[in-house]
């Protein structure tokens, strides 16, 4: 199905009546984006796969309850993903797990495969810093940079106004810059 054929309103109506084929189309449309979001929030490809499956299972079970009240379907999915990731972090903090830095790194799109295999020290340091940020700030950065969303779209997902997102983004950048300065990390030489 091409983007032109994709009529989300109609597909959602069918999916909410229990049409699994329609839900399959929605799944195909969003699965990669949700996987990317979960991967960056967990840093773990195995758990990202498991959580992505659970996001869609939960969405499929509750799609009858979804009604478009100004919140797009994508925002609804991201909220489910956010809640599941929050639970995952809570469970993880209770038990001893493999440190995130020891887990495999997935290659990013568009770059040369060899360059992808090794993430630079600066990128690693920046990722570690991002993962230490409060969850809503992590969400904001992932949605902005990985998903290329506008402040207005991010606002819909996070349940905030566009201005509030802009302000949060500014504070997040300030915090990151201060941390970089504290750690004397030089981002210039890549």
């Amino acid at each position: 199905m091409t983007e032109l054929d994709y009529n989300e309103e109609e597909i959602l109506a069918r999916a909410s009546k229990g049409d699994r084929d329609a839900f399959g189309i929605l799944y195909g449309h969003y699965v990669e984006r949700i996987f990317n979001y979960v991967y960056y929030r967990t840093g773990n490809p195995h758990d990202a796969e498991d959580l992505t499956a659970r996001v869609f299972q939960r969405a499929m079970n509750h799609i009858k309850n979804y009604t478009d009240r100004g919140v797009p379907f994508s925002a609804w999915l991201y909220r489910i993903a956010h809640n599941l990731v929050a639970n995952w972090h809570r469970d993880r903090s209770r038990k001893q797990e493999i440190p995130l830095d020891d887990l495999p790194v997935l290659p990013t799109k568009g770059d040369h495969p060899e360059r992808n295999l090794v993430r630079s020290q600066e990128q690693d340091a920046l990722l570690r810093m991002i993962r230490k940020l409060p969850p809503e700030r992590q969400n904001l950065l992932i949605l902005k940079f990985v998903e290329n969303m506008s402040n207005a779209e991010i606002g819909k997902i996070m349940g905030r106004s566009e201005g509030a997102v802009k302000s949060l983004y500014h504070r997040t950048l300030l915090a990151l810059r201060d941390q970089l300065e504290d750690q004397n990390l030089n981002l210039e030489g890549e």
């Binding site: 399959g24 799944y27 960056y40 499956a53 799109k109 940079f145 998903e147 950048l173 981002l187 210039e188």
Partner: protein, 87 residues
């Protein structure tokens, strides 16, 4: 001036964030595994089912046309033989 320096610093951080937070390539076979786990039909299955519907319509149309032809032939024969008997 201060704002300009801040903006320059943010530009630098933003550039590095853009270089670090990039969409990843999902592991091979991930989508198929997830389709199976959620028990959803894959896009190819949906397409196949749709083409099956088309096939079914063609078959149904063909059967109807065939039956119509048979009925017309039968009527023509009946008409011809019926006329011979009267003569």
């Amino acid at each position: 001036m201060t704002d300009q320096i801040y903006q320059e610093n943010f530009d630098e951080i933003e550039t590095h964030l853009a270089g670090t937070l990039k969409p990843v390539t999902a592991p091979s076979g991930l989508f198929q595994r997830l389709y199976e786990r959620i028990q959803l039909p894959t896009p190819s299955e949906i397409t196949m089912r749709l083409s099956d519907w088309r096939k079914l319509i063609f078959v149904f149309g063909g059967v109807l046309s065939g039956m119509l032809l048979l009925i017309t032939l039968a009527r023509a024969l009946y008409y011809l033989t019926g006329r011979k008997e009267i003569m």
